[in-house]
């Protein structure tokens, strides 16, 4: 072994932190490989030991689309303008599925990975981030389904599609913000596990997933548009199907909300993480 001097070694100071601590982004960057492995573990672990395996990634959006089209398109008869209702719903299910999967995985990630957290150090932020980003795989699969559907309905591809990553980024940020807050709370309150499903269901009804935004009464429009998922879903419909207008000022306000919620969530999370092992 080569001889070392103190200068070669990086130094760690361990002491109690008071108040708020920095986000430790540099530390996070050093552990980026771990992030990839955790995402991969999440996906691999979830679909091993299932008969259909990763086919589920494609099957889920299809089934979801069929059920919603049957109930809301056919039975209820929701108006979706010039666009076939299945496509109308699928364009919204892309970001919504990504968001809800991300929140479910991200919010329970801390409690679920407790056995690892209590045995080895790494920046804890990696865990909810991995939970949320693993949803990108589902999104990719759903997107393939969407492309097939577009050809099926003879709808042309639009150049506005290139803006999609932007909306994905906002959805990712929002999912991360919600996950950070919920994961932090879940350490002390196991109630969160039960609350997540309810929160997601409520949020789905408050977003234009199954209905067009025009049917929302005018007085509520502004508040309704502050929900970041509203902007993201409308953005997806605009970019993929040419439905509605390009993102308006509402969208930028909601982006601002997302940024604020993510950063505050990260700080709250950092504050809890130092004693998380002692509580669980």
């Amino acid at each position: 072994m080569k001889s070392m001097t103190l200068q070669d070694l990086h130094t760690v100071v361990i002491e109690p932190t008071r108040g708020w601590s920095a986000l430790g982004l540099k530390d996070l960057w050093n552990y980026r490989e771990l992030l990839l492995f955790l995402v991969w573990r999440e996906i691999q672990g979830a679909y091993r030991q299932t008969a259909l395996g990763t086919t589920w990634l494609f099957l889920r959006p299809i089934l979801h689309m069929l059920v919603l089209s049957f109930v809301f398109g056919l039975i209820v008869g929701v108006e979706s303008g010039d666009i076939p209702y299945p496509l109308f719903v699928l364009a919204a299910l892309l970001p919504w599925g990504f968001f809800s999967n991300g929140v479910i995985r991200g919010s329970r990630s801390l409690v679920q990975n407790m056995h690892v957290i209590s045995k080895v150090y790494f920046p804890r932020l990696v865990i909810p981030i991995a939970g949320v980003t693993s949803g990108l795989v589902d999104l990719g699969a759903s997107f393939c389904v969407f492309i097939v559907a577009i050809f099926f309905f003879h709808i042309p591809l639009r150049w506005e599609m290139v803006t999609i990553p932007l909306f994905v980024l906002v959805a990712l940020g929002f999912a991360l913000a919600v996950s950070l807050w919920l994961a932090t709370l879940s350490v002390k309150f196991r109630d969160v596990e039960y609350a997540v499903n309810f929160i997601l269901m409520t949020l789905m009804y408050l977003s234009p997933v199954i209905y067009p935004v025009d049917i929302v009464p005018e007085p509520f429009r502004f508040i309704y548009a502050l929900n970041p998922m509203t902007g993201v879903i409308l953005g997806f419909r605009w970019a993929l199907l040419g439905d509605g207008a390009p993102p308006s000022v509402h969208f930028y306000i909601s982006v601002f909300i997302v940024v604020f919620a993510t950063i505050s969530g990260a700080y709250i999370f950092r504050r809890t993480e130092r004693t998380v092992v002692d509580i669980l």
Binding site: M1, L9, I14, E15, E33, Q49, K119, F122, V277
Partner: protein
């Protein structure tokens, strides 16, 4: 000499919740409704003195580069907490520690393993979690697999592994970490003897490579062989720091020396409480002296003398025997009858209880005993841990392994029947 670890007055405080007393069922609904408020009030108010536990207190020490330091102490003495603080799993409450170099901690075998993934996948996963880079794992994969002896099962899901294979693979990954500082908690207590030996060998290599190692173990022989220096923790505090030989022998003197008789002459300072005070405890046999240990074939008597301070107290006396590995072998309770405590009221005065352990009950090895006083409904009134300790030796009269101990907390001689039930 370069210092790589410097701990300065480290302390770690835990809050331990108080157990809630039993409540009548009809209050349950009311409590359910008010639960969130109770929860908040218990979180927000400052913890009172008895809810606080200092797992580490004022721990100060330094470790130089290349030192291999053993950490010993009884369960709950703070050894594992120290490793958790040094590996940044949890923050200290007071003090600080400075570490120079990459820290690898091995507090468990198979950290981060996912049962649904294969052996190969888990090597990458666990390695990354423990802080290895991907190219490092690529480079060491063959070595890890060979060390774990799982070549044929590399692409099998680990949930199909035997527990031995699982442990071997987990250790192999961790053993190939190359941090400058390695923190190891009792991981060698698992696996078969041959593999344990191999792990110890690997640790010996680590030590000669100039890496700094902190090694927690109950295996004093391993500590003595691997570590020049040892730290003895007692009740969260660093009790003794010095050459392993010296530290281990002081430690043994305190805890593992046979205590065959103890007498407290002053009632005021004797262990006990306002209801009872212990005068003496003793273990003996008619034929043998406790100093050499009792053979398995010897009946043994355990005696306690105590003062009962309050007339009319109902109490029972119990002995709980533990093996060297802290496993409770059994508990025996005085005058145990179906009717329970009736007829066990004692007058004020000095009492003697003798428990007769029959021959051929205990296994060979060391035992230590806790003395427990129960009051009505089995509640513990007073308890004296490590009241006595003694050794049982194998005289070789009974069959079985001659050179090593038959596993088991006890080794009773039981009645067996044998008959031939068919011809040919």
């Amino acid at each position: 000499m370069t210092l790589v670890i410097r701990a300065d007055r480290l302390g770690k405080r835990y809050r331990i919740g108080k157990l809630r007393a039993r409540e009548p069922g009809r209050l349950l609904i009311a409590r359910t409704l008010t639960a969130p408020f109770h929860y908040l009030s218990s979180t927000l108010r400052l913890p009172s003195e008895e809810e606080i536990l200092w797992a580490l207190r004022d721990v100060t020490f330094e470790v130089a580069q290349g030192e291999v330091v053993g950490i010993i102490g009884r369960n709950g003495a703070g050894k594992s907490t120290l490793l958790k603080v040094l590996s940044r799993i949890t923050e200290p409450t007071t003090g600080r520690a400075i570490l120079h170099g990459r820290v690898g901690s091995l507090l468990e075998v198979g950290t981060g393993f996912h049962p649904e993934l294969t052996g190969r996948e888990n090597i990458y996963l666990s390695g990354t979690i423990l802080g290895m880079k991907r190219f490092e794992i690529d480079r060491k994969l063959d070595e890890i697999v060979a060390f774990a002896e799982v070549e044929q099962f590399l692409d099998t899901q680990v949930k199909r592994y035997s527990s031995g294979m699982y442990v071997r693979l987990g250790f192999a990954v961790a053993a190939h970490l190359e941090p400058e500082i390695l923190l190891i908690d009792e991981v060698l207590a698992v696996g078969d003897a041959a593999f344990q030996k191999k792990c110890l060998g690997k640790m010996g290599d680590v030590a000669t490579e100039g890496r700094t190692v902190l090694f927690v173990s109950h295996n004093l022989v391993a500590i003595q062989n691997l570590c020049d220096r040892s730290l003895w923790f007692d009740n969260g505090e660093l009790r003794l720091d010095g050459k392993s030989q010296k530290v281990i022998s002081s430690y043994l003197n305190e805890y593992h020396a046979n205590k065959s008789e103890r007498i407290w002459n002053e009632k005021e300072t004797a262990p006990g409480n306002d209801k009872i005070r212990i005068h003496s405890v003793r273990i003996s046999s008619e034929k043998q002296s406790p100093d050499e240990g009792f053979t398995m074939e010897t009946p043994v008597e355990i005696e306690v003398q105590f003062w009962n301070e309050i007339p009319g107290t109902s109490l029972l006396v119990g002995w709980r025997l533990f093996t060297e590995h802290q496993v409770a072998a059994f508990t025996t309770i005085s005058n145990e009858t179906i009717s329970g405590f009736s007829g066990n009221q004692l007058d004020q005065g000095l009492f003697r209880y003798i428990c007769h352990l029959p021959a051929n009950l205990l296994n060979e090895g060391g035992y230590h005993i806790s003395l427990i006083f129960y009051r009505d409904r089995g509640l513990i009134m007073f308890r004296l841990d490590d009241a006595l300790s003694f050794d049982i030796i194998n005289s070789g009269i009974r069959p079985g392994y001659r050179y090593s101990r038959e596993p088991g907390a006890v080794r009773p001689l039981l009645k067996w029947d044998r008959e031939k039930i068919a011809e040919g």
